[in-house]
């Protein structure tokens, strides 16, 4: 992966920046060109809290290229408290014990390294929110 393709997504991957429609207040993550609810193109950038719950999940046991050293790993759709849903790895826990509805919190983590360009990719992962 070439560097620009990676860095142009950084505001979302590092800071969970989402787009809130100024007209209907719907939040899109990642942003859309126009609001899927009302069609408006007038957005403001907001930062998601990073807190939410598992809406569905699985354990990846046969991984794509670049993730083989991480199997088995938890993967899920996290429904953020603000509404949007995010596909992410769920880590720092036994993925066998995860349940739908479990509370999750954002962590900044390394995703993988690109073998050909050497780009080290970081983004969000989620871990169980134990309320510390």
């Amino acid at each position: 992966m070439q560097v620009p393709r990676y860095w142009r997504e950084i505001p979302k991957r590092y800071r969970l920046e989402a787009a809130q429609c100024k007209k209907c207040h719907n939040i899109s993550f990642p942003e859309k060109f126009s609001c899927p609810e009302c069609g408006s193109q007038d957005f403001k950038t907001i930062k998601l809290s990073g807190k939410g719950k598992i809406s569905t999940h699985t354990i990846i046991r046969i991984a794509p290229e670049g993730f083989n050293d991480q199997v088995p790993y938890g993967m899920g759709i996290i429904e953020m408290d603000e509404g949007p849903r995010i596909m992410a790895q769920i880590t720092d826990c036994d993925p066998e014990k995860l349940k739908t509805g479990d509370r999750m919190i954002y962590q900044f983590r390394r995703i993988r390294e690109d073998g050909s360009t050497g780009v080290i990719m970081y983004a969000y992962k989620f871990v169980p929110d134990v309320g510390i």
Binding site: I60, R61, I62, M75, G76, Q89
Partner: protein, 384 residues
């Protein structure tokens, strides 16, 4: 709009075809189709292919395939919509004929998936998902469908046995299909003993990697009536898209593109789902067939699992699904799948399906989708 008919189909035996190239299997399917149609006339050709670029390092199939056929000047174009490329190629060929641009349009679907390693093929298939917001994080297609399966189990109580019933039924049907990649029966015990790929989906819940091609010839109903063979009328076509990322959907158990494409096709045909006698659907994973049954409106949301284990969809059930063996047993050469579904529906409607022939059928439906149902295309076929 001119009325449409299918006058020829061409299918080859699918599998791991080490000795054959992409261009060769595509040409074989086309020539079988021409022979079946009883014509060598091709006004235009559409080519359903998901990723010649990643599977074979080969783009520009609109030149490659006619060239290898020895018919280098045919106007051809490649149509891509991930795993729905084949169905979309048929739809595009229909538009050519319906509009009057062409009188004889052939749609060929082809995918040669074993020219790269399994890992590379997994990567190529994952490009049907959102690269930046799904694949980037390490999710696979089995992973995406596993999340749908988990949600279906949580909300509706769908069981492991119900998922297995889809697999067992499709392999039984495939055991009667000489063109299938895996033409053998399997048991529920074999499903349970197969390796876990992405919980709760096991290896035998997943469709395979396949080399294959299929073709259909489309002309006007008027033209078709001049031929000796019984034509099959295409009475409905529907097509819709949905968000590419599963996480963008408010309800991941609602396959909106499938619902919309089905409703559009039924409306065009002037029918309801109750008028459909059987279907070929996109069972890329066991859970997909269950969810498609619900999206088609055959059963209510949440009842797809029970309907499957109760035998609704078997060859002798009230609504047979995937008499060909489906993607699961017949194989899933992604760009060819949607075309082959039409071939099976035509074979059934002509009464040529041998041991897997359905009785008392007049109307069939085919449903082909891309990615995690980010696109879907439906055709309705009838005997006249």
């Amino acid at each position: 709009m001119r009325k449409l008919a299918i006058i020829g189909i061409g299918l080859i035996k699918w599998g791991e075809l080490w000795e054959k190239s992409m261009r060769q299997i595509a040409a074989e399917a086309v020539f079988k189709c021409l022979e079946d149609a009883g014509t060598d006339r091709i006004d235009t050709m559409t080519i359903g292919n998901m990723s010649g670029g990643l599977f074979n390092g080969q783009e520009h199939l609109s030149s490659l395939i006619p060239d290898h056929m020895g018919r280098k000047n045919i106007p051809a174009m490649r149509i891509e919509s991930a795993c729905a490329s084949g169905g979309m190629a048929v739809r595009t060929a229909c538009l050519e004929v319906a509009s009057g641009f062409s009188d004889y349009a052939i749609a060929v679907g082809v995918e040669k998936m074993t020219d790269i390693s399994g890992n590379e093929a997994t990567y190529a298939l994952a490009t049907a998902a959102d690269q930046d917001y799904e694949a980037f994080h390490g999710v696979t297609f089995p992973g995406l469908y596993a999340m749908m399966a988990k949600a279906h189990m949580d909300r509706y109580g769908t069981t492991r046995e119900q998922l297995s019933s889809v697999v067992i039924k499709n392999h039984y049907n495939g055991s009667l299909n000489p063109n299938a990649q895996f033409p053998f029966k399997i048991t529920g015990d074999q499903v349970l003993k197969s390796p876990m790929v992405s919980d709760p989906l096991r290896l035998l819940d997943c469709s395979p990697i396949t080399d294959g091609a299929a073709a259909v010839m489309i002309t006007t109903l008027e033209e078709a009536k001049k031929l000796k063979k019984q034509p099959v009328f295409i009475s409905g076509i529907g097509h819709a898209s949905d968000s590419i990322a599963l996480s963008s959907r408010k309800d991941i158990l609602k396959l909106e593109a499938v619902e919309l494409s089905t409703n559009t096709a039924l409306k065009m045909a002037g029918k309801s789902i109750k008028d459909i006698d059987f279907a070929e659907v996109h069972d890329c994973f066991s859970i997909a067939e269950i969810m498609i049954l619900e999206a088609l409106g055959v059963v209510a949301p949440g009842e797809g699992g029970k309907a499957s284990s109760d035998g609704l969809t078997g060859l002798d059930g009230d609504f047979p699904v995937n008499p060909s063996g489906g993607l699961k047993s017949k194989g899933h050469p992604v760009g060819a799948t949607g075309v082959a579904q039409i071939c099976e529906a035509v074979t059934q409607l002509r009464g040529d399906a041998g041991e897997r022939q359905l009785e008392n059928i007049r109307t069939g439906l085919t449903q082909n989708m891309g990615g995690s149902a980010g696109s879907s295309v439906v055709h309705i076929l009838e005997v006249i």
